[in-house]
Amino acid sequence: MTRIRRPSARTTAVLQALAEEPGRWRYGYELCSQLGMQAGSMYPILIRLADRGLLETSWETERVPGRPARHLYRLTGAGRAYAGAVAAAAGTASRPATASPSVTATRRARPRLGGA
């Protein structure tokens, strides 16, 4: 059985926020405001997710006078799958232990993507 490390609570929150509307580009200020998180916590999480290929980044193409272009973020296909898996694992963990041992083992045996 392969044991995976669960992402931190903050990483889970960022993943869930991004997974709410997976097709929409989000930006740092919006995520910080939504989750009440400081930049010093948010950006390292976004950087790690992007390093692991779970987050797609882009620059705003429509230029708004008086401010620089923003960096935009959304989950990749792998990111969506991972966010779903994390949400499912979180649901399993919060529920009473009704699942059979074989089902729990299957749910844990995911590729090691955590640690962000």
Binding site: Y27, G40, Y43
Partner: protein, 360 residues
């Protein structure tokens, strides 16, 4: 009085140096300066954070955001997490071993060794996190060697004092131990991974001028230490004419050669950073060479019997070590930074004058 004047010059100079964007507030300037220090593969993230700051309104929120950006810049997510953790683990084990050895051999330095070990481990981990790095050039290697040599000499000198006169390095409050470790780590970090004030194109020019200034003042002070009879005052003050001249020459020379006042400031500051631990070690070594320690001031004669020190040598050396940490490692570079600013201004002025004469 002189220190206060130097601090005023320093503050005015820093405002002038970084005050180019008149419409930007302090958090914006801090973020702009901080993100420019990110490693190349994280530059996009730096631009992203700088762009996002424009959407944060209110002084408190902007300062909070700037503090968060500083945190990301200081400890960016490591590209090679396992390597960074390995370096941190090795550093912590080395720090623990050094602390145990210090507690056994020179107990008065145990706190200093522990703090220095922890800080150096953190620095090594931060450097590993920020890789990949460009291949070091010859001046960068030489600056690294001089910086490591200076710090090693400073530590070795204090260890010698602790071994010969244990009471001289007893630090009941641990303030001096922590300050000493902080300053040495800061010096090493600045010399080994200097901020890119002068820009990539000018970095070698800055390093050569700083090396020349530091080595010139180090050689002159060594000659003075070897030829002049040792006194309990050492051979230097925190601002000798030699150090001042070396800093001014390095900053003016670099600003002319690189056509950049920032390059001049960085060269002058690096001159002081490289020279300070060398001077610290030289000065204390000179005092350590004394065969007979005598109290020279009326204050010391009155204070010594109540000081608790077992002998005059410990009393004088303890005073010298504390004085050198504060004046030699804290006030000395601050004063030299003020001189570096003046040197850079002078160098830029000379360059403009020469350019006008050429075109005129």
């Amino acid at each position: 009085m002189f220190i206060a004047l130097a601090l005023v010059v320093l503050a005015a100079g820093l405002l002038w140096l970084f005050g180019g964007q008149s419409d930007a507030d302090a958090p914006a300037r801090i973020v702009a300066a901080a993100v420019s220090q990110l490693p190349a593969h994280r530059r996009d993230w730096g631009r992203a954070m700088a762009a996002e700051l424009t959407h944060f309104h209110g002084r408190a929120r902007r300062w909070q955001f700037a503090a968060g950006v500083l945190r990301v810049v200081l400890f960016p997510p490591p590209r090679r997490r396992n390597r960074a953790l390995l370096v941190a683990a090795a550093g912590l084990m080395a720090a623990a071993a050094a602390t145990v050895a210090a507690a056994s051999e020179v107990p008065g330095l145990a706190v200093f060794v522990a703090v220095l070990g922890l800080l150096l481990s953190g620095y090594a981990m931060a450097v590993t996190s920020r890789s990949p790095r460009a291949r070091p050039t010859a001046p960068r290697v030489m600056v690294g060697v001089v910086a490591l040599g200076g710090v090693a000499a400073a530590v070795a000198t204090v260890v010698r004092i602790a071994a010969a006169h244990p009471a001289a390095t007893t630090d009941g409050t641990h303030v001096f131990s922590i300050l000493f470790a902080l300053m040495l780590t800061g010096y090493l970090a600045f010399a080994l991974t200097p901020p890119r004030l002068g820009g990539h194109a000018n970095s070698d020019t800055v390093l050569w001028w700083a090396l020349a200034g530091a080595l010139a003042s180090g050689v002159i002070w060594t000659a003075a230490a070897l030829t002049m009879p040792p006194t309990a005052m050492g051979v230097i003050g925190y601002l000798s004419p030699v150090a001042a001249a070396a800093t001014l020459a390095a900053s003016a020379g670099a600003s002319v050669a690189a056509r950049s006042r920032r390059a001049g400031v960085q060269a002058g500051l690096l001159t002081g950073i490289l020279a300070a631990p060398l001077h610290f070690a030289l000065d204390l070594t000179t005092i350590l060479q004394l065969h007979h320690y005598t109290l020279s001031s009326a204050y010391d004669v009155a204070a010594y019997p109540h000081s608790g020190y077992p002998d005059v040598a410990s009393y004088i050396l303890s005073d010298a070590v504390a004085g050198e940490i504060v004046s030699g490692l804290v006030l000395y570079p601050l004063t030299l930074l003020a001189l570096a600013l003046l040197g850079a201004v002078a160098g830029t002025g000379v360059h403009r004058l020469a350019a006008r004469r050429t075109t005129g």
